[in-house]
Symmetry: C2
Subunit: 311 residues, 2 copies
């Protein structure tokens, strides 16, 4: 049996963690692989809640593997999001739904679709392969879709994701999706006394916008007042991250999942000027109202990309 | 309906041309696309023979499209193999079986598998989508597989390609694959009074091996003596191409499809030294015996890549 390690992106979220567990199951079902899922960092509380609910062991954290190890990347493909020594590894599979920037020296399996959730792609792959989707795998798929689509409120949601969720309702017997999703979102919003740096980096990505190094965080929450109430601490932490990580720009969106609103936090000065120009809105007391822009991938990053490209 | 242009790689071969025609049909069957196949240059005689046999019009030659045009790339993905203004186009789909080096600014559909023929991947996609494979589409798929796998003799052939060809035998009623493939191979071998530069560039790719610019041609033929008998003309043409295209290395494999042998032609001097070191064989009268290395992708290019990486 061919050993293969299945791994999601850095700063793991629900979609990438469940996708790693599901795709390892898929590869094991193929009977030519012995596959194990991994994560590249500590889980957030939403994913922790789901693994506990489903009685699934937390995958081991790994940021590198011995040279020559065969790996499958799920929910990501770009270098800065993946394993430290990716160039020494043999990438056999990529299953993803983001933009691509990947180069290989040999042919490999790639399955990418511009839909909301990696778990939706995996659902299709199970069906195509004729593999059974049992209640546990189906519930994981459904959770991945609901998490990434914010219960279908995110602009990244497609007809395909909604149709697949309908099929998964039948398979899992979960008829009330809102009742299933709300405890997930509440768990994500239970930030306790989280350190403000961890809070910013909870769901955070670095980007290179035409030479401008930027960090963009998103806090999806049912309780936006938690973060907004700690604004001063957060601003101090944003400045620290900006300095330590040598960023040119830093940005944190507080996404209210229930109210479907995005209030983002920016530092004063240059960052504030950029944000107001990009999103055509005023920055007041370090806050900018991005209205219904719930999706970083679809409604925040593309505008930043375009702005810095034309600068 | 969304207009989309489906296009194979530069210096078109049978697999990429038939894949473009088949994938355009697939997209049209999806009923959200109005898809048209294109080629990026003059067809070889094998592909011409097949289009005539199947009574299919030759796709129009195009090397660029107006900015913003939606395109689907089949059987290739790298910049130097594709449309001139690819950066201005919207790539919606990539269906391929080569190594990848591609970057996008938005998510898109990618389907890649390390199997022999793009047409095998398309067969799987039709089955998965529940689309009918009629006799004409099935015959095209079969021809693509037989062409790329040299009737399963090439080292790139996988179990999957062979299994799909078996299914296609049923669909098409073509029971004797050898009888079907031989006229294709003979057509490819009918080089007439082809100019030696065209002969070298018949199935030819440029590579950047760690800074070494190389041109590697392959002539798959049922009649190797045609090319070997014109060796002096070919050597002269290789020198011309080497000079004009500012290459550091040039190489032409004459692959005898029936005898399953590869005799390659090299220029004297540095190229000859490289070839003998890479393939651990003597160069005699500008010829080097590569034995059963029938696949450029799997048995020639990887060794060249490794040699120049370690140089």
């Amino acid at each position: 049996m061919i050993e293969i390690k299945v791994v999601g992106h850095k700063i793991p979220d629900t979609d990438c963690t469940l996708a790693a567990i599901i795709f390892a199951d898929y590869l094991n079902k193929k009977k030519i692989y012995s596959a194990t899922p991994y994560i590249q960092g500590k889980l957030n509380k939403e994913t922790e809640y789901l693994l506990e609910l489903l009685n699934i062991a937390t995958p081991e954290i790994k940021n590198s593997f011995p040279a020559g190890t065969k790996v499958a990347l799920v929910d990501h493909n770009e270098d800065f999001q993946t394993l430290e020594n990716i160039k020494e590894l043999e990438v056999e599979y990529i299953i993803d739904h983001h933009k691509i920037d990947f180069a290989s020296s040999a042919p490999l399996n790639i399955r990418m679709e511009p839909i909301c959730s990696t778990c939706s792609i995996l659902y299709k792959m199970y069906i195509e392969a004729g593999f059974e989707i049992d209640k546990k795998i189906g519930t994981m798929m459904l959770a991945g879709i609901l998490s990434d689509s914010l219960l279908f409120k995110s602009a990244t949601t497609t007809k395909v994701d909604v149709e697949i969720a309908e099929k998964l309702k039948e398979i899992t017997g979960i008829s009330d999706l809102e009742a299933f999703a709300m405890p997930m979102f509440d768990a994500k919003s239970d930030l306790g006394d989280i350190d403000p740096i961890d809070l910013i980096k909870y769901d955070y990505k670095e980007f290179d916008f035409n030479g401008t190094k930027a960090g963009v965080g998103t806090l999806e929450t049912t309780n936006p007042n938690y973060a907004l109430g700690r604004k001063d601490e957060i601003l101090k932490a944003m400045q620290t991250i900006r300095d330590n990580d040598k960023l040119d720009f830093i940005f944190l969106s507080i996404v209210d999942i229930i109210g479907e609103k995005n209030i983002s936090i920016v530092l004063d000065g240059a960052d504030s000027k950029v944000a107001s120009e990009v999103f055509d809105a005023e920055v007041k007391d370090n806050l900018i109202d991005l209205k219904r822009r719930l999706s970083r991938k679809k409604q925040v990053v593309p505008d930043l990309t375009e702005y810095f490209l034309n600068k």
